[in-house]
Amino acid sequence: MTVWIERARNALGPELAGPLAAFVMVMIVFGIAAPNFLSRATFGSVAFQLPELGLLTLAMLLPILTGGLNLAITFTANMAGLTLAWVLQSQGGVDAGIGAFVLGSILAIAVGALSGLIMGLVIAYTKAHPILVSLSMMIFLRGLGEFLTRGGDVSGIPGFLARIGYGSILGIPVPLLIFVACVLIWHILLTRMKLGFNTYMIGSNIEATRYSGINTRKVQVLVYTLSGAMCAVAGIIMLARFNSVRVGHGESYLLITVLACFLGGVNPFGGFGRVIPVFVALVVLQLLSSGLNLMGANQHLATAVWGILMITVMILRWLAGRLKFLNTNRR
């Protein structure tokens, strides 16, 4: 039995303790404070809201693990959404078929990956700081997107997209299924694949990794390319849910994705962090805002509570670190 616990802990990482504790706390507090919190409706709303923020967080996670950042995630998602919308429009707008959707989605992912590829190449070869490179990409995409859309919405989307945005399979919302699939892909990538292994190593010490015979440039380029592709998936889901694209939509998620990574125990300087704890952290953030909503609190207040939660987590981690320090010394 203990072997299994040990194995589970090794597989998921010590980072899981924090988010899991926060999860239990949120469940207990709202379970008592809001009697209708533990209901299907709450979890339904969480299940539909989680994927957008979640997919963007996955896109943010890989660059953070290498010690970088991708500030262009939301506009890359917008750009990919626009690509899909234009393809659908050119194929008959509301009358476009499944084929147009598939083609558009492939092109959308290609556009997202291209944005990441360019950032990755610049970061790997010029050694410019990822914050500056991705900030430049963010400004570029935003300007380009606003120019192409004249600052307005692009709509005229076939009706079947709503089934992707709002439909369910076996009672599970489709966006959630897509998100969970992406979580699993990222988990396998990071725990079982060479690219994931090298991502962690680069995050801790890129020069020592290079001296070990690893092609660090290739790793960086791939990480940003995958990050861009994941933004595109988020962009497609956003298009399906809002029935339109607007450049700037989801902009407020940008910094929340960084917070969600840190809440999930990801080291802000890179090298350490797992997907599953980040997933739990995302669930906690959504439960928190849904719970506050239920209690009739203002949406802005929910954002404020996210901030408080993060600060509390920092302090708790510091305390836990001190306790651990005492423990090892007593031995």
């Binding site: 010490n205 020592a208 015979g213 090298g271 090892t328 007593r330």
Partner: protein, 504 residues
């Protein structure tokens, strides 16, 4: 000079500690240690890492409080414990290895900033600082441009600045923690002269150093610690390097040169006229299967640059590298690894190993393809590969997932060697493999090197400590200013002859 101090004031030690005990989390860091320094004496504190040297210094400077029963006499006063304030006020100064200087500030500011801190009217008097700094440097017999920012100076001169700062604090007792660790031989000689001046002016100096030759040269007495306990206090006269090593480690070492007959062994590496202008020129060498080729020389002789070129991380301007009979041109170190070349970096902390990451991950990083099963990393294969190397190289670890930084220098170096052996190399380049490794653990590293050579690996051993290559290599090349200037066969040439050539 030191002898005079011994005779004149021998009756009253400047500092005397008795009955010092310290416990950290159940581990006895100091066990009933006593320690004594005479006024104006140069005293050496010797011991391996973890023997309690730093802990003892921190007790004396008031950073740690010793357990009850401790008796500390300093400069005519008795204490049961020191505090940082009393230590500073009493003129005890420590120059830590990292120096704790401000590279962007001027020499004058670095030396004299303490004199202006907190004094009313909270303005900085630069003329005063310059005067204080110049006079402190004069006491050391040194002239530096005090208005230049510190980062313009080489490390040896920064060391001097740190000493000058200690003097401004009216030092009576100065601790120097590994002051020569990053200095070349001539810089070290310069520093030792300064220490002699300091001692002549009546300041006692406690010298902590791994380099036993310096210990013998500079100090009048040696206090040896082992595992937190006092081994003894010895007059330097009559001590030898090997005797100090024995006292520090409690082991005896057998020193003999290698005698392997390699004339019939096939050549693994043949380098002909290799050059990178500004780094090294016209280097030619061969290494045979089962041979260890030693390369020695001062820092900056081009040894590491040559090694990095053989490892494909730098491109030669001219010349050829022939590996196993094939002319090679490496585009990157990945090509070199694939061709069977491995390079253990001289800088284990920032280039050799990824310090925050797990022991197991550090061991498999260069040979990930070996632990793949169907394209995915197999944790079973990884564990068995790691366990195999831990057993073969006798590495002592807690758990495989612990960070590599939790290991001692010697065990870290074994992991670094294992990491490269896992790539099945034919040529292993070891660049300063004993830097930061305890004297006792060095022998273990060289045991491994010797076994690897016997198993047929070709090895290049680079070290700036001549005895290391003398006793552990079949042939020794002397490199200076980017050129190979001498070749020796240990046994045929004496150690002394090679040392004189290298340090001349």
């Amino acid at each position: 000079m030191a002898d005079q101090a011994l005779d004149g004031a021998a009756s009253r030690p400047l500092l005397s500690l008795r009955n010092i005990n310290m416990t950290f989390g159940g581990v006895k860091a100091l066990k009933n240690v006593s320690f004594e320094v005479l006024p104006g004496e140069v005293h050496c504190l010797a011991g391996e890492n973890g023997s309690g040297k730093s802990t003892l210094i921190k007790v004396i400077t008031g950073v740690y409080k010793p357990e009850a029963g401790a008796m500390i006499d300093y400069d005519g006063q008795s204490y049961s414990q020191m505090s940082p304030v009393t230590a500073q006020a009493g003129g005890i100064q420590v120059i830590w290895q990292d120096l704790a200087l401000f590279p962007e500030m001027t020499v004058a500011e670095n030396i004299a900033f303490q004199t202006v801190i907190g004094r009313w009217p909270r303005l900085v008097n630069y003329a005063e600082m310059r005067r204080v700094a110049t006079s402190a440097l004069q006491r050391l017999g040194v002239t530096l441009d005090v208005d230049l920012a510190l980062h313009h100076f080489p490390i040896a001169q920064r060391q001097i600045v740190a000493i000058a700062r200690a003097l401004v604090g009216e030092a009576k007792l100065v601790f120097m923690d590994e002051p020569t660790a990053s200095l070349t031989q001539s810089e070290t000689d310069y520093l030792l002269d300064i220490v002699r001046n300091l001692s002549a002016s009546g300041v006692a100096v406690v010298f902590v150093s791994h380099r036993l030759a310096e210990v013998l040269e500079i100090s009048s007495r040696v206090t040896v610690l082992r595992d937190g306990g006092l081994v003894g206090v010895y007059p330097t006269k009559g001590l030898t390097q090997s005797r100090i090593t024995e006292l520090m480690t409690g082991k005896t070492f057998d020193h003999s040169v290698l005698r392997r007959d390699l004339a019939k062994s096939p050549v693994v590496l043949e380098v002909e006229g290799l050059s990178r202008p500004g780094e090294f020129e016209d280097v030619s060498l061969t290494v045979r299967r089962g041979e260890t080729l030693g390369i020695t020389g001062l820092l900056g002789a081009g040894r590491t640059e040559l090694a990095l070129t053989l490892f494909g991380m730098r491109k030669p301007k001219s010349g050829s590298i022939v590996l196993n009979g094939n002319l090679v041109r490496f585009g990157s170190n990945r090509d070199a690894v694939a061709a069977g070349v491995a390079y253990l970096s001289e800088d284990r902390l920032s280039l050799g190993l990824i310090q925050p990451q797990a022991i197991a991950d550090n061991m498999v990083i260069a040979s990930l393809d070996k632990i793949l099963a169907g394209g995915f990393i197999s944790s079973d294969r990884k564990r068995s590969l790691v366990n195999g190397w831990i057993r073969d190289l006798g590495i002592r670890i807690g758990r495989q997932d612990d960070a590599i930084s939790t290991l001692s220098g010697g065990n870290q170096q074994r992991v670094a060697i294992a990491k490269w052996l896992a790539t099945d190399p034919r040529l292993l380049i070891l660049d300063a493999p004993t830097v930061g490794v305890d004297v006792g653990a060095r022998a273990g590293i060289f045991d491994i090197v010797s076994k690897l050579a016997d198993s047929g690996l070709a090895i290049i051993l680079i070290s700036d400590e001549v005895p290391e290559v003398y006793y552990n290599a079949d042939r020794v090349l002397h490199m200076a200013q980017g050129r190979i200037v001498g070749q020796y066969a240990p046994g045929a040439a004496t150690l002394q002859a090679i040392e004189e050539a290298v340090y001349a």
